[in-house]
Amino acid sequence: MSASVEVLGSPEWLAALKDSGPERELRIEELRRFLLVALRAGLAGNAAAGDAFIEDVAQDATLRILERIDSFQGRSRFTTWATTIAIRLAFTELRRARWRDVSLDQFLASGLDGATLLQSDSPETAARSDNPGHQAHRRGVMEVLQRVMLTDLTDRQRIALEAELEGMNQVPLAEKLGTNPNALYKLVHDARKRLRAALEREGITLDDVREIVFGAS
């Protein structure tokens, strides 16, 4: 019971999937099996995506695809559309599981009070330039950045930005903040734009930032 990639998504195959009858069940199983193969390949190397997890996601993705089947407009291959849904579902669940038992407060316990400002540079940063002038310039920019993060961002923006930069994924972070991923993205995007504007107001250009990030030329 397997269908080639060319058959999956053909007009006849889709019609049978949408129809009611015994052939529909066969098409559903073909879809589920395709998603199993796709998920195994897409998530290969991900230690958290074991066989049981992939089986569950393939099943859930199949149901979701069936729910949304009328929204498939043929602007892409059906297998691409279906795989996109399945892979995104898998990552959402993996990321939720990763952060489920992590409290946002504990995660951000280091805070933004500047107490640990520039205590030490990363080895990579130190290696980039041993020019004292460059190091002093970098420290100055970092001090300004830390200050404008307190003056130009809302509390919510600071928390969201820091959590994201520290590695918390968007879906679980949005849930912990009581919002949705779309609103969270816009919140952080606005924060980044505010910081860029604030740095420019303080006389720090994007070229200055580039020099700090990529090292003095």
Partner: protein, 76 residues
């Protein structure tokens, strides 16, 4: 916030565009974008450019995109 986080903040500021698609907006365009990339012919529409820019900014969406491509190349 420690030095590494401040560094990453600066990196994120460098990547910031005035207009960016959210992850959900990218998701609605992703299947079309993936097919074009796999065919080696991404059209020059503003939408596809914004998807491409988003992948430079958002590591999560980039990770998903790479997994989708991996999956489809295995299945093709």
């Amino acid at each position: 916030m420690n030095s590494y986080s401040l560094q990453r903040t600066l990196e994120s500021i460098l990547r910031t565009r005035e207009h960016e698609l959210t992850c959900e907006e990218v998701a609605r365009l992703l299947d079309r974008y993936v097919d074009q990339r796999l065919a080696g012919a991404v059209d020059d529409s503003p939408e596809m450019r914004l998807v491409e820019e988003h992948h430079q900014i958002c590591p999560e969406c980039r990770e998903e995109y790479e997994a989708i491509v991996r999956a489809l190349r295995n299945c093709d």
